[in-house]
């Protein structure tokens, strides 16, 4: 088994007169999850495109041992890609997209059902992309990326067009894929996307990886708990965790809890809240500077 499924040594990427990426070394082990963050214009999409051999790079990128430019086809058999903006073909139905992409991957039509069902798109197989909402287009793109169970998933801001339930579905599918040993490379600028466990976080700024393992100091989470929660958990919260809000949410039979504490013990805090016998309906991760 190879040590690294993705290996990149990118000395520079120039688009027009602008240097969009410089001095990037990235090695990803099979089964690893890498989340690339950074502000708008930092070069996140360019980095993914460079990794896929779609930009003129100075350097080398290998996926699954194949050079992405010299052996593009072989490298792409390893990859399922979701672009930031859905790029489906307007004159083809969703079903035709599945047929086309499956054929390009040499798959039989009978193997399509799992990918189609993963994101619940089977009801839209006869629909044209122009008739679907942004969220459903993104679901279709996500399902297409799963075709053939590629060992590497490359996702460019996959939550950009998704509502909360679909985001939750995406995390569930990604966790399942993580468990199956699939490598995930993902960009995001949403704080709440940093919820994948066991992920390595990279921070990109002005085309450079400024931090190989960027870890924020503080985490803030907002949880909705069914009914009035049992308050035992409050005593068991990890050290330095504070309760910023603890009140009925005013909309239904649930209570809204906002907590702030060290990033390193965030999962411990979540487990404590759940362990008290409380039915946690939903958890949103917030930027530490964001609104509670």
């Amino acid at each position: 088994m190879m040590e690294f499924i993705v290996e990149a040594e990118i000395r520079g990427v120039v688009l027009g007169s602008r240097v969009v990426l410089r001095d990037i070394g990235l090695r990803v082990r099979p089964g690893e999850t890498v989340v690339i963050g950074g502000p708008n214009g930092a070069g996140k999409t360019s980095l993914l495109r460079a990794l896929l051999g779609l930009l003129p790079i100075e350097g080398t990128v290998r996926i699954g041992g194949h050079d992405v430019r010299r052996a593009h086809q072989a490298a792409m058999t390893q990859v399922g890609y979701v672009p930031q903006a859905p790029a489906l073909f307007p004159e083809m139905t969703v079903g035709e997209h599945f047929r086309l992409f499956a054929a390009l991957r040499g798959l039989r039509p009978s193997t399509l059902s799992e990918a189609v069902q993963a994101f619940g798109v089977s009801a839209y197989l006869n629909a044209y992309p122009g008739t679907l909402s942004g969220g459903w287009l993104q679901r279709v793109s996500l399902a297409l990326a799963l075709l053939g169970d590629p060992p590497v998933l490359v996702l460019d801001e996959p939550t950009a067009h998704l509502d909360r339930p679909t985001r939750a579905l995406l995390w569930e599918v990604l966790r399942r894929k993580q468990a199956q040993g699939v490598t995930v490379l993902m960009t995001t600028h949403r704080w709440e996307d940093r919820v994948l466990e066991a992920a390595r976080y990279l921070w990109l700024e002005d085309g450079r990886l400024v931090s190989e393992a960027f870890e924020p100091q503080w985490a803030r989470l907002k949880a909705w708990v069914l009914r009035q929660p049992n308050e035992d958990w409050i005593r068991r919260l990890p050290p330095d965790w504070q309760i910023l809000r603890f009140a009925p949410d005013g909309l239904g039979d649930s209570t809204c809890v906002v907590l702030r504490g060290p990033w390193a013990s965030r999962w411990q805090a979540v487990q404590t809240l759940q362990a008290g016998g409380n039915a946690v309906i939903r958890i949103d991760w917030l930027s530490d500077e964001g609104e509670a």
């Binding site: 027009g16 969009v20 360019s46 779609l54 930009l55 593009h72 792409m76 903006a85 490359v154």
Partner: protein, 284 residues
């Protein structure tokens, strides 16, 4: 290059082209007019004499086919590049050459198929009214297919060199106007003011592939090409009808080869990276 991949990309392109509807509608208009012209041949006198009708039909095709080919070619690459769809397609396990030739095949097939259907119908009309040599009609049809291939290649070349759909469309409109409308008056003016000799005028005319097609098409109808003027008259006297046809077909071939090489060079360049010379709206 894998035939299965080529076939599926061609299938996608043909589907896109036909679902846009303007190609079938364009052909319907073209051949509708053609049929009206052939039926007008029932009156074999005056303006509706058989040759005049046939000449009008050839002119109609010489005008219509390049536009259809150029526009179909212009839409092959630049719009997909602009919207990120080309990137998306290239993240599938395909080779750039498979994408390029799949696109070419997928766009040529419906254009050629609809042209052949139209030609078949007009051939029936021609037979019904009892005229013409089917062999010559076949040669004319082959020249028509050549013109489509050339126009599509030029359209794809412009598209491959354009970063946006708007520029590709503008480019082929300019090219179409140059070959179809502007070159004639320019040549006439040059002939008048520069006092061009007949050989020079002929070779300048043959440089325009659409003019080459027109003369080639007319040569399938009549041997009396001297009616086209002293330039063609000179060529006919010098080369004979077969030599003339060969030269005109050669001009079409050279243009076609050049167009496709240019398109392929820019599309591939030995590195798919050059397709994205500028960041798209999708992000950085």
């Amino acid at each position: 290059m894998r035939w299965t991949v080529l076939r599926w990309i061609a299938w996608k392109e043909a589907r896109q082209l036909l679902r846009q509807r303007w190609v079938p509608v364009g052909y319907a208009v073209l051949f509708g007019l053609g049929l009206l012209l052939w039926n007008a041949r029932l009156f074999p006198v005056g303006w509706f004499g058989p040759h005049r009708v046939a000449i009008a039909y050839f002119q109609l095709l010489a005008f219509g086919l390049p536009w259809l080919g150029l526009l179909a070619g212009a839409q092959a690459i630049a719009p997909e590049r602009e919207t990120g769809r080309l990137t998306y397609l290239l993240t599938q396990p395909v080779e750039p050459s498979e994408v390029f030739w799949g696109k070419a095949l997928g766009r040529f097939s419906p254009l050629a198929g609809l042209f052949l259907i139209g030609q078949g119908v007009t051939a029936l009309a021609l037979l019904r009214h009892g005229g013409g040599s089917l062999g010559m009609y076949g040669l004319f049809t082959a020249a028509g297919l050549g013109l489509i291939l050339l126009a599509l290649g030029l359209g794809m070349a412009v598209s491959a060199w354009s970063p946006t759909q708007a520029r590709a469309t503008g480019g082929v409109l300019g090219l179409g106007l140059l070959f179809l409308l502007v070159s004639d008056p320019v040549l006439l003016t040059a002939a008048l003011f520069l006092r061009l000799s007949a050989p020079n005028l002929f070779f300048l005319t043959a440089l325009n592939p659409v003019q080459s097609f027109r003369v080639l098409a007319l040569s399938t109808l009549t041997d009396r090409l001297d009616i086209l003027g002293p330039a063609v008259g000179w060529a006919l006297a010098r080369m004979g009808i077969s030599g003339l046809r060969l030269l005109l077909a050669g001009s079409l071939l050279v243009w076609t080869g050049m167009a496709w090489v240019l398109a392929r060079i820019r599309f591939g360049f030995g590195d798919q990276a050059v397709w994205h010379g500028r960041p798209s709206a999708e992000g950085t």
